[in-house]
């Protein structure tokens, strides 16, 4: 029995001694130091073993470089090696023939041994050309910089400039553009097709701190209920316009030295200005023009498990504008909407989401959505009389009131396959949307969604 305990103790000691060495590895990325010339950083993971170590030996490292105008290869000598456990980087200080600004460079790790470690070549990360630091008196010429290599654009790239315009909605992000198609087939009726195109695309530039973009919400046949003997496309609600978006982060005071950082409930505010948006319904020849500044309050999410999260974003907006055209008849009923002119509404609401994500099967540390349940609620509070159209038991009534108009939407999105541009979607809608606020009475649809995110 004592011998078994001794063997067990030896095994535990051996196991405890190994991980520090075996878990260490170079990640294959390196960056130039932007403020201390002639230094580069090599990324690693794990922990460096104490004592003599080939990774901390300057002679194990060389930096090779060339410039575009002259393909001859140069080598820079590594004078010293300094590990930084906090940021997990090894700092290489160069001397001699150091790379000038604009050079392409690679780091060679080739230790002499023993102990013997496999050599490794690490390409320098491309750096912005205009990012060269300001020249300072007494410092050597230019730091290490790189000429970005022309590579094929890929959604896997970490550089936004190397991505195509659209990528799958990955990493737990909702898509920027969606096209949902579904149909309902019932006995004795022709199929009812529904189509929804939603999107918000942003331009990279800014105007007074706001990012300009275009937002659209195009819904067809959302209001039809079976049995309907029609397959005509009937655009119900179309909203389109130029929008300006600005995101304001909350900058809390950092904690005192030695104190742990604190989390805060309010993380930021997203401001959106529509300049202006058009609301129109072609089936009823009604249209309005609306200016709608809005604010979304970004609250810190709750993460019940490692691969899921719950978000809750309150929403506040003002819609001000004017009715441009009003119909004389709605669903064959003569109406008098002569006092429907000015539009002023307060909008309150919230967006919530429960999302599960899973690690990317490409093994690059990314994450993809597997399941999401999102809910959205809006209540519009008109200051002036606006129409409200209700059809109950095949009887249509049109009121001109300032009653609150509610809108509830819930979506279930499931993307089980690897082609993340496509997802199965279930949608529930209830309530009234401008311009005529026709009541949509508990609509359920199931369909396929083609979705993509704009590369940013």
């Amino acid at each position: 029995m004592p011998s078994k305990r001794l063997v067990l103790l030896l095994l535990v000691c051996c196991a405890a001694a190994r991980p520090a060495e075996t878990s260490f590895k170079l990640t294959g990325t390196a960056e130039a130091d932007r403020t201390a010339p002639n230094a580069v950083y090599v990324d690693y993971t794990g922990s460096l073993a104490p004592g003599p170590n080939p990774f901390l030996t300057p002679s194990s490292w060389r930096v090779f470089w060339s410039v575009k105008s002259n393909p001859a290869i140069h080598a820079a000598h590594v004078a010293s090696v300094e590990p930084d456990a906090a940021s997990q980087k090894i700092r290489l200080l160069l001397d001699g023939d150091v790379p000038p600004a604009g050079a392409s460079w690679s780091v060679l790790f080739n230790p002499a041994g023993p102990p013997y470690v496999l050599p490794q070549v690490i390409a320098g990360t491309p750096t912005r050309e205009e990012s060269a630091p300001e020249p300072q008196a007494g410092t050597p010429a230019g730091p290490v910089a790189h000429v970005p290599a022309k590579t094929k654009k890929s959604c896997d790239s970490t550089d936004a400039k190397q991505k195509p315009m659209f990528c799958p909605a990955a990493s737990g992000q909702p898509p920027d553009v969606t096209l949902t198609a579904s149909f309902l087939a019932a006995g004795g009726t022709k199929p009812i097709y529904t189509l929804v195109l939603k999107g918000t695309l942003q331009e990279n530039g800014t105007f007074l701190g706001f990012h300009p973009g275009v937002s659209t919400d195009f819904e067809i046949n959302q209001n039809l209920k079976p049995p309907v003997n029609s397959t005509t496309f009937d655009p119900d609600s179309i909203t389109a316009g130029l929008s300006f978006v600005r995101v304001i982060p909350m900058l809390y005071s950092p904690p005192p030295q030695g104190q742990p950082a604190r989390d805060h409930l309010l993380y930021g505010v997203k401001l959106q200005l529509g300049v202006p948006n058009f609301e129109f319904s072609t089936s009823d020849s009604s249209s309005s023009i609306v200016f709608n500044p809005a604010a979304t309050f970004v609250l810190t999410s709750w993460q019940p498990t490692k691969h899921s999260y719950v978000t809750f974003y309150p929403f506040l907006a003002l819609e001000a504008g004017e009715n441009l055209s009003k119909p004389a008849k709605i669903e064959k009923i003569p109406v008098n909407l002569s006092s429907y002119n000015a539009i002023l509404r307060g909008v309150l609401g919230t967006d919530a989401a429960l999302v599960t994500v899973s690690p990317d099967d490409k093994g690059k540390g990314g994450m993809v959505n597997t399941f999401s349940l999102t809910g959205s609620y809006r209540v519009r509070l008109p200051a002036f009389d606006e129409p409200e159209v209700r059809t109950l038991h095949q009887v249509t009534t049109v009121d001109l009131t300032t009653k609150a108009r509610h809108w509830v939407e819930g979506d279930i999105n499931f993307a089980p396959w690897s082609f993340k541009y496509l997802a199965i979607t279930g949608k529930y809608q209830y309530g009234e949307l401008p311009p005529l606020f026709k009541l949509l009475d508990h609509s359920f649809t199931i369909g396929l969604t083609l979705q993509a995110s704009q590369s940013k």
């Binding site: 990325t29 932007r34 990324d43 990955a170 995101v247 999410s301 978000t311």
Partner: protein
């Protein structure tokens, strides 16, 4: 004009961590920047990603960086995000 702090890996990592919604979830040395992701620190969707990038831009002043140059996808490791700051700030 304020003096520019040295754009060291530690500084960039500090900016990245403090720009996330949950900086208290960063517990070195048990946590490492190559394994901890922005998702772990509360950057979970497009909206929090954009607030994170705007926060990095504000905190790195007097250095400048474009929002689009900050790697801010939730699956990004802290190290990759800090590298994007170090490489693209000017």
């Amino acid at each position: 004009m304020a003096d520019k702090p040295a754009l060291t890996p530690d500084f960039c990592l500090h900016v990245v961590v403090n720009s996330t919604p949950k900086p208290s979830q960063w517990k070195p040395p048990a946590d490492t920047p190559s394994t901890k992701t922005l998702f772990d620190l509360g950057v979970v969707d497009a909206l929090t990603s954009s607030v994170f990038a705007a926060g990095v831009k504000a905190r790195i002043f007097p250095w400048h960086i474009d929002d689009s140059d900050v790697t801010s996808a939730p699956g990004t490791t802290l190290q990759a995000a800090a590298n994007s700051v170090q490489n693209n700030a000017f």
